[in-house]
Symmetry: C2
Subunit: 462 residues, 2 copies
């Protein structure tokens, strides 16, 4: 089998993966398509499928067995999984989704357009559909949003022997279900947990109530940060999620918390760079990509025009000392750089939980000292350049002082704005940058030009 797949790979080496996918799908060769997909892996398959036409993508996904298609769809980002699922018939989509785990089902269906989601849910078994709808009511970064509905739980009266017998029947996917057996009371309350190995080493005739250990759990609305802290503190692979009556709802796995943290960190980066309102990959339709990007840019250009309008107030000063013009973009760019460093440090300290959103004063004091030192260094550097260029120390003084003062302003804003946004319940990754650059540009332009206006007689001497 392995060898056969290798031979196939060799035969296909000259062809591009997307062409191989297309020809195997069009030949309806489900078995060889499956082997080829396995041989190149999820990422390569994803990359190749994206380069096919929408029709060919559909053909590949429907030629694969629902199980194989599900294995692939589960591993790509939900948003892109939804884009592919959306193009299939509701029946095909539902049969693929039926092969997926509950949290993956909920993740993909949550990204579908409302009408498609409804159509797909109608084709799924009613119980599974209800479960997906229940999961999707949770915030995606809460315990409820991250939990799997699949878990192993037995009533406390069950004997160890019965549990072991039950486990060997369902032994299909033991690793993905984790190795904990949860114990519940008749009313569904979580009463304890048994680890697989202690179950087996126990007296098999005793009810599991006697074998189980007390069990920690988290509330259904526990945020991601609490789950992160939980898995930092305890070596468990999973934690049960309970409602306020202690009833067992699902299980959050350590790996899903780690994956959610990775996704959030990557999203923070993209949002700070202006990729907002949905992630982009370059095989998406041109107008979608352009539209999402330009909506962000349009906001920014308005902010930019507002801050640059400060310059228009000083046209006389600028006419008198045209050399100042060179320094306006430098002050604007450098203040952005200094401020963004402070934003990044605040974002990290918030993520690590070592500052609280209300500690604005502490952050500000820490930033002011760094800002003073770095402002003086950068100010002297720029002043030196200005003096060397025009031979006028007053010009150096103006641009140097402006940059130094504006650096302090930039780090003050950059350090504190993420905390303020967080307190207001806004996403600091999205809004910190535009707020920072708008304010520091305005302050920078104002500083350099008003100082120049004050010292105009000295500046026009040379």
């Amino acid at each position: 089998m392995e060898q056969k797949a290798q031979q196939e790979t060799q035969q296909n080496r000259e062809q591009k993966p997307r062409d191989v996918l297309r020809s195997l799908a069009n030949a309806d060769d489900a078995e060889r398509l499956r082997e080829y997909v396995k041989s190149i892996g999820v990422n390569e398959t994803f990359s190749a499928i994206l380069r096919l036409s929408v029709d060919d993508r559909e053909k590949v996904l429907t030629t694969l067995s629902a199980e194989d298609a599900a294995d692939f769809i589960e591993e790509i980002p939900n948003q892109h999984a939804a884009e592919m699922i959306q193009k299939l018939s509701a029946v095909d989509a539902a049969s693929i989704l039926n092969e997926m785990e509950s949290n993956d089902q909920a993740g993909v269906i949550g990204e579908l357009k409302a009408a498609s989601a409804k159509a797909v849910l109608a084709e799924m078994p009613p119980e599974a559909a209800a479960n997906v709808e229940r999961l999707n009511r949770y915030d995606s970064d809460s315990a409820g949003g991250l939990m799997m509905s699949e878990f192993i739980a037995y009533n406390e009266d069950t004997t160890a022997a019965e549990v072991i017998a039950g486990l060997s029947e369902r032994e299909k996917q033991p690793s993905s279900l984790g190795m904990y057996v949860y114990v519940t009371s008749r009313s569904g309350k979580l009463t304890g947990v048994v680890e697989l190995h202690s179950l087996v080493l126990s007296n098999h005739s005793s009810p599991i109530a006697f074998i189980c250990k007390p069990c920690l759990s988290v509330a259904e609305d526990a945020p991601l940060s609490e789950l992160d802290e939980f898995f930092d503190r305890y070596a468990f692979l999973a934690v049960p999620v309970v409602d306020r009556h202690d009833r067992l709802l699902g299980v959050v796995h350590r790996q899903h918390v780690a994956e959610a943290l990775a996704d959030n960190a990557a999203a923070t980066y993209r949002k700070s760079q202006g990729i907002i309102g949905g992630d982009e990959i370059r095989s998406q339709p041109l107008l979608l990509r352009s539209g999402r990007r330009v909506s962000w840019l349009s906001l920014n250009i308005v902010l930019n025009i507002i801050s640059a309008s400060v310059i228009a107030l000083y046209q006389d000063t600028l006419s008198a000392v045209i050399a100042l013009v060179v320094f306006l973009p430098i002050v604007s760019d450098m203040s952005g750089c200094s401020g963004n460093q402070a934003v990044a440090v605040s974002m990290r300290e918030l993520a690590l939980g070592i500052i609280k959103p209300y500690e604005i004063m502490r952050v500000w004091l820490k930033e002011v000292t760094v800002g003073c030192i770095n402002g003086v260094i950068l100010g002297i550097l720029l002043a030196g350049v200005a003096m060397l260029w025009k031979g006028n120390p007053w010009l150096g003084l103006v641009v140097g002082v402006a940059l130094a003062v504006n650096t302090v302003i930039a780090v003050s804003i950059g350090g504190t704005v993420p905390l303020i946004l967080k307190r207001m319940g806004k996403d600091p990754a999205v809004a910190s940058g535009p707020i920072l650059t708008t304010v520091t540009d305005m302050c920078g332009f104002f500083l350099i030009l008003s100082l120049a206006a004050l010292m105009l007689p000295h500046l026009t001497v040379s």
Copy 2:
């Protein structure tokens, strides 16, 4: 016990955590210190310890038992763990490190200064020290750098009964060691794997060679991307790492791969914002923080001065049409915004493995189309503002065309530079930003000013 801890927490509620830590440590009350640390959790403890003096930090860490201190040190970022360990005596540091798992030991010691690392290793058991040195020779984002040396392996002749007996003896930390038992030949070659539950359900008198299944493995130098793909493809919780003779070296756990991916994503964000050469938290010494930030800023100001020098070549044009000055920072900032979006999309596609670093042409074509659409939209917007402000359509034409063309340039550079840097083995998160802004600023200033120079008669009419 729980109740006692709760009472203590209540008593301590009015005091700040750092004061509680200090007073418990100074009272040498190891037991209550331990309970307090457990009750507030790792993040809160980390936050509080950072606010203590260096002496008090040392006192807290040495008052805790080595095991409790290790539990804390393991969970904070390696760089900050090393900063704390560095201040302890080598003996104290070694006794804490001895309680940690091999990969955490290697991670922290890898961040120590060479002299401290040597001193600490000298105090550790020779075998553990040699193991740490061996692990630290691997790239930290490779299978060797991510693997744990702790794993359960038995020779293939061992019977199931012997393995089970052995396991119940070492039963200390079964979850963190995972639930796989690896099977090796006499020469140490990996020959298979037994899952815990199939071991227990097997005939206990047979050698594990008969129970074990064939086992997938990764090479010691497998990169993080390959591990990510592996765990995407297979539902295993861990994968064994082998050398080129198939000898078992260690085990990489799924959670460590997810954590490494999260760390990398967060580092990408910080590097793009100019936090380079070591992560910052605000309790670090002022000069360290300022120095790291300013070294990055100094490079940027030099690049900024170079690009702004283009403006100096057009002073006559600017003197004639002083209104142009307002638009220079706008074009500079907006080109940065557009280009950064393209950088972020390229970074994501590289991380997802859906573009290869050599696909520069494909990325460029995809960016040019988006750039044309968005450039035209932004150009018209800015041209409109310029016309309304000065009533001169030629001014609108100059700034609009300059912004439109420069948007295309910015997305072309932003999209392709990360791929080029990746091919050159450089970190695109660090270098893409400065390269992008320098080139697009120069082009933007040149475009706006040379167009204005060409159309000078029309611009000076009004």
